[in-house]
């Protein structure tokens, strides 16, 4: 049996398959479908300082091999998370990572500080990349100096594994990756959604209430793979890779490009059981290729 485990800044993952924030709720909606204990980890929906209603509907548009969303960080705030959600999910037999969002450095710090107290949350993922909130993520995620600042401020209060999730809507993803590593990030997650738009030609209107939204799904996989590869060559921290992963082959492509772990996002909507299948099929790939440990594949793309 090949060894599927991977390690991110000392945090053990039983396998490299985790689920992407915003596509997996708080995990409990999936209890009817899968055994969460079979996953390396779950990244729960973004948590902000206060309650947010998110954007008006329609919030979704289907696109070729993908979808746009403009959910906009709807959540009930960090208090509610700690009081109502955490007790409900703390005993899942997998790593629970909280996706931390905000509109100001103070808000990020506040949320991170609160999550730091939760014993059974071994890490957070700073979402400096959500393109949907006007007073929010976009700026942090696209200006290296701001990315360094918010990461460094959170680093001061957050003592466990700190991952930072990057926006792909930038000229140089490596500059951003370096910026957050400078700020003290233990790992980087990439990619968040590409900023896109859909139009209903018959009604001559935008499909989304917010006009633009975040593109996810297989359509963005080539861009995501490229960014993982670029960042893998540029920085020395582990990468959590995602963007359009639908099956184990996709997952292995990300690992070969340099990802230590991967996240399954939009694919969960199409098959809520897919994450566990991906873990199984990665194992089958390793057996078929006689590879002893998945960690041997990380960044192992042959380019000579």
């Amino acid at each position: 049996m090949p060894d599927l485990s991977v390690n991110i800044a000392g945090l053990h993952f039983k396998n490299p398959v985790t689920t992407a924030s915003g596509t997996f709720g708080y995990g409990d909606e999936f209890l009817e479908f899968i055994d969460l204990g079979r996953l390396g980890g779950i990244f729960v929906k973004a948590v902000t300082g206060k309650n947010r209603d998110g954007n008006a509907y329609p919030r979704m548009a289907e696109t070729p091999a993908g979808m746009l969303n403009s959910v906009g960080l709807q959540n009930k705030g960090v208090d509610h998370f700690c009081r109502e959600i955490y007790p409900r999910i703390q005993d899942f037999k997998t790593n629970i990572i909280v996706n931390v969002s905000g509109s100001t450095v103070e808000e990020y710090v506040e949320v991170a500080e609160r999550i730091n107290e939760l014993e059974k949350v071994p890490g957070i993922e700073l979402n400096i990349s959500c393109p949907n909130v006007k007073l929010g993520g976009m700026a942090f995620g696209t200006v290296p100096a701001m990315a360094t600042e918010v990461t460094a401020e959170v680093r001061k209060v957050y003592k466990k594994v700190l991952m930072v999730k990057l926006s792909p809507n930038v000229t140089s993803i490596t500059d951003l990756a370096k910026a957050v590593v400078d700020g003290g990030a233990d790992a980087v997650t990439l990619i968040n959604t590409l900023l896109g738009m859909a139009i209903d030609a018959e009604r001559r209107r935008p499909v989304l209430s917010t006009i633009t939204g975040g593109l996810s799904g297989p359509a963005i996989k080539p861009v995501a793979l490229r960014m993982v590869w670029q960042v893998h060559k540029a920085v020395n921290v582990p990468i959590v890779g995602l963007g359009g992963i639908m099956n184990a082959t996709d997952a292995i492509e990300f690992i070969l490009a340099g990802a230590t772990a991967i996240q399954v996002g939009t694919a969960n909507f199409i098959d809520p059981e897919v994450s566990v299948k991906i873990a199984d099929d990665i194992e089958a790939y390793l057996v078929r290729h006689r590879i002893g440990a998945v960690s041997e594949l990380i960044g192992a793309l042959r380019t000579e």
């Binding site: 915003g22 596509t23 997996f24 709720g25 909606e29 999936f30 009817e32 479908f33 929906k45 309650n51 209603d53 998110g54 509907y57 329609p58 919030r59 979704m60 548009a61 289907e62 696109t63 070729p64 091999a65 993908g66 979808m67 969303n69 959910v71 709807q74 799904g217 297989p218 939009t266 969960n268 909507f269 199409i270 098959d271 809520p272 059981e273």
Partner: protein
């Protein structure tokens, strides 16, 4: 029976083409059907349609626990539903079901069901369910034209059926809300269940408020997951933005921000 969501390959027993735009898929479950409530829906995986990436939501039209089958009533709208219309006996359709909440069991026997377009789909199952609870509702169905009027005998098993068509080629001419049964000073219903296009549901809601009649509607929305995790399908309610696929699709009109 457990109320549990499952992902299953169902076998197409038959495809009944009602008219050019509507068809019924009768589907056989591979294992014992879970408990399904009227108003609940399923998410169907369309294969072979390159432009259809996400699943498509369809209400449960009827359930036969004895034969372990359920039916979907589908209106052809775009590529996804067009591909579903090509399914034949023996083909497979992958469903996630049952999803969402359900219509509530009313405390009165004076019940009206109103449906229009593909919104008639959940009403057959609801009528059946009401009958099992000794309620014989009036069922008001709106169609475009006589050609699309269908399954009247089915509905008639469970209550009195009234029909409107947009062009007057069958039943009363006009919209469901214009049907004489609703044009009285006081309408003879204490509870209305409604499903159809937004504009229709809003018109019925206005009428219900006017007559102080209790009313539940089954909302549509754009859905990515159907089981509560993407937050794409929200509707504003008295509790903020709620998910149509989880807290809905059925809402009491008093909870919606429609006034």
């Amino acid at each position: 029976m457990e109320l549990k969501k499952v992902v299953r390959d169902l076998k197409v027993v038959q495809t009944i083409h009602l008219n050019r735009r509507h068809f019924i898929l009768e589907l056989l479950a591979p294992d014992k059907l879970p408990l399904i409530l009227p108003g609940q829906f399923s998410q169907a995986l369309v294969t072979g349609s390159p432009s259809t990436f996400l699943r498509r939501p369809f209400s449960i039209h009827s359930v036969d626990y004895g034969r372990n089958t359920l039916r979907l009533l589908v209106q052809i709208k775009g590529e996804g539903t067009r591909h579903l219309s090509l399914l034949k006996a023996g083909d497979t359709l992958n469903l996630i079901y049952p999803l969402g909440n359900s219509f509530s069991l009313p405390a009165t026997k004076d019940v009206l069901l109103v449906g229009g377009g593909c919104g008639v789909a959940p009403l057959l199952f609801l009528a059946q369910f009401l009958n099992q609870n000794n309620i014989h509702p009036t069922i008001l169905l709106g169609f475009r034209t006589s050609e699309e009027v269908s399954e009247i005998e089915e509905y008639s098993k469970y209550g009195k059926v009234l029909v409107t068509t947009d062009d007057g080629t069958a039943g009363e001419k006009g919209l469901v809300v214009d049907h004489p049964v609703l044009q009285r000073e006081s309408i003879p219903f204490k509870k209305i269940f409604c499903c159809g296009p937004d504009a229709m549901m809003k018109a019925i809601a206005r009428m219900a408020w006017m007559h102080k009649t209790d009313c539940e509607v089954s909302l549509e929305n754009t859905m990515a997951c159907g089981f509560g995790v993407c937050l794409c399908c929200v509707t504003p309610t008295d509790k903020g933005n709620e998910r149509v696929c989880m807290e809905g699709p059925v809402f009491n009109i008093n909870r919606l921000k429609w006034r």
